[in-house]
């Protein structure tokens, strides 16, 4: 973890309302593991007192790429940042996904919306390709399918309006694949998306004694474990729960670690 002043190399539309931000970050980029994030000081965001967390799309050759949609005040202000501009980064933060799979496991990535961007770095770093299940409201919410396919991954798409892939939720094609016996292999799940998606995948994994690594999305403050904004309930050894910090102890937790009946969906 360190502070670095990165320089914007490229900043452009990526389609479907997304923006791709490429940064020269020679100190932070080589340290990044899939599932970690960077905390970014947004330029010209007047009256703001917090950094904003961003998952990492690509990290190679001393560069970082971030994929984001301008939806809030922070991301809207960021979208106006220009090539050559310095950007203060704090990172890499958090623990990330494990990369060493037990023998015989097939990685199964499940993404809701922009969760695809965060899982792409994982797909690049895992030893062998597996399967990706991605869901969204409509075709324009589905990102990066071609990028995953280029790495040799099999991609299943579901959209609520049926404009791409099968109509319905991402659990549709996933459950069909599970019902067919997972092609005779044991899946290891990696999930990035809304908390509701984490829960349904986590429950499927726990029911069959498989593992599901879940990237938890919480409101975040300091990013380093000091402010205790982004806490999430984990199982304690005595059957009760205890707080963990998504920024420092997470954001990736295995489904059995999480105290499911108390997880809250945040707006």
């Amino acid at each position: 973890m360190q502070l670095e002043t990165a320089i914007i190399l490229d900043h452009r539309d990526y389609g479907a309302g997304y923006r791709l931000l490429r940064l020269a970050a020679p100190q932070i980029a080589p340290q990044v593991r899939p599932g970690q994030f960077v905390h970014l000081r947004i330029p010209r965001l007047e009256a703001s007192v917090l950094r904003r967390p961003f998952s990492i799309f690509k990290a190679e050759n001393g560069e970082l790429a971030l994929l984001y949609k301008a939806i809030g005040r922070g991301t809207t202000a960021l979208s106006a940042a220009t090539v050559g501009e310095p950007l203060s980064l704090l990172g890499p933060l958090g623990n990330g996904f494990p990369l060493d799979l037990p023998a015989g496991r097939v990685p199964v990535l499940v993404a809701g919306g922009y969760g695809m961007a965060a899982l792409y770095l994982l797909a690049r770093r895992l030893a062998a390709p597996g399967l990706v299940f991605v869901g969204g409201r409509s075709a324009q919410d589905i990102l990066c399918v071609e990028e995953f396919e280029a790495l040799g991954w099999k991609v299943y798409v579901a959209t609520e309006d049926g404009s791409r892939g099968v109509r319905g939720l991402v659990t549709g094609p996933l459950d069909a694949w599970l019902a067919e016996g997972c092609a005779g292999r044991t899946p290891e799940f990696f999930v990035c998306g809304p908390n509701g998606l984490l829960e349904v995948i986590g429950q499927r994994a726990m029911a069959r004694d498989w593992r599901a690594w879940l990237s938890v999305d919480r409101h975040m403050g300091c990013g380093v474990g000091a402010c205790l904004t982004c806490v999430v309930k984990l199982q304690d050894t005595d059957g009760t729960w205890l707080w963990a910090r998504a920024c420092k102890d997470g954001p990736v937790f295995e489904s059995r670690q999480i105290h499911w009946d108390r997880i809250e969906e945040e707006a």
Binding site: V49, L50, R51, A226, T229, V231, E264, E266
Partner: protein, 305 residues
């Protein structure tokens, strides 16, 4: 002319510079230690500790507003034993005074945590958080009820020889009265001020943005409020005041010194730039040189009016 002297002795505590961190904004030490040399802080003030571990509030716990942050963490902490076992040994590796912010739900709990921490080596002072809800006494706060305020200070004074620094609530009618009461009851210094009671509402759902409904506002939004409180209190007492509330720059800090503070603490700014306390200290040195002052002590309480 040699470089201006930033060192101070406050309530008997020697500090290299007068810029501390505010409780709750720098964790217990390890959180920022990779980014900031803790030995360069004037003092390390840790997040509030109670006699027993405490889970705090549900989420959402913070919300960003214009020039500020409203927090309702709810005083989550590992308890006195957890702090002494997990964090104090780490902090003692640094050349920095450790000030422990303490709180309780009752007067007895304040005394219990003060007594337990006083038995440990390596703590320079106790800061009394008297702005938390008083469960035993109903909805009153220790910080806004003069009688309760005095009882907490007296009860902790009775069990510890450590310097006591009550942290005064901003939402009192006359802060000078609380400052005088604290001084008369044995306080060694005052921390002014705590976050300001506040709330924010989601207008689409019409729900509060914090699980706790209300919280405490910190950041630049409260700085002018805090400067005024320091000025009022400084006129009323002889014990030193640690000024805090939205300090981001050396200029912000200089305002507090001029108003009468002997030291300052940086809080919410740490979340954006963890090195802010060090930058503020360096900037104060430049400010003193520019104004041909040999020591930060020469700036304290120099308001021209």
């Amino acid at each position: 002319m040699s470089a201006p002297d930033l060192s101070i002795t406050l309530a008997g505590i020697r500090m290299k510079n007068p810029v501390m961190v505010a409780s709750g904004t720098f964790g217990y030490g390890p959180e920022y230690a990779d980014l900031v040399d803790l030995s360069q802080l004037g003092a390390m003030v840790v997040k509030g500790i109670s006699s027993e571990p405490w889970r705090g509030n549900q989420t959402p716990r913070t919300v960003e507003v214009a020039s500020g942050l409203i927090n309702a963490i709810g005083l989550q902490n590992p308890g006195a034993e957890g702090f002494l076992k997990t964090y104090l040994p780490f902090l003692r590796r640094f050349d920095v005074p450790v000030i422990v912010n303490i709180w309780g739900r009752t007067v007895e709990e304040y005394a219990a945590v003060a007594a337990r921490l006083s038995a440990a080596e390596g703590i320079a002072a106790l800061e009394l958080n008297v702005s938390c809800p008083n469960i035993k006494e109903g909805s009153k706060s220790f910080g806004s009820n003069a009688d309760m305020f005095q009882r907490v200070i007296a009860a902790t004074r009775a069990v510890t020889k450590l310097p006591l620094i009550p942290k005064l609530a901003p939402d009192v009618f006359r802060i000078a009265e609380f400052a005088r009461l604290a001084e008369a009851t044995g306080a060694d210094a005052l921390a002014i001020t705590n976050s300001v009671p506040a709330m924010a509402i989601d207008i689409e759902t019409r729900r509060p943005k914090l699980a706790n409904v209300t919280g405490g506002l910190s950041g630049p939004a409260i700085r002018p409020i805090a400067v005024r409180l320091v000025w009022e209190a400084a006129k009323a007492v002889k014990i030193p005041i640690i000024g805090m509330g939205g300090i981001y720059t050396a200029g912000d800090a200089a305002e507090f010194f001029i108003a009468g503070a002997s030291a300052v603490a940086v809080g919410t700014a740490n979340f954006m730039e963890p090195a802010t306390p060090l930058n503020v200290a360096a900037g104060l040195r430049d400010y003193l040189a520019r104004h041909q002052l040999g020591s930060i002590r020469e700036l304290v309480g120099t308001l021209a009016c």
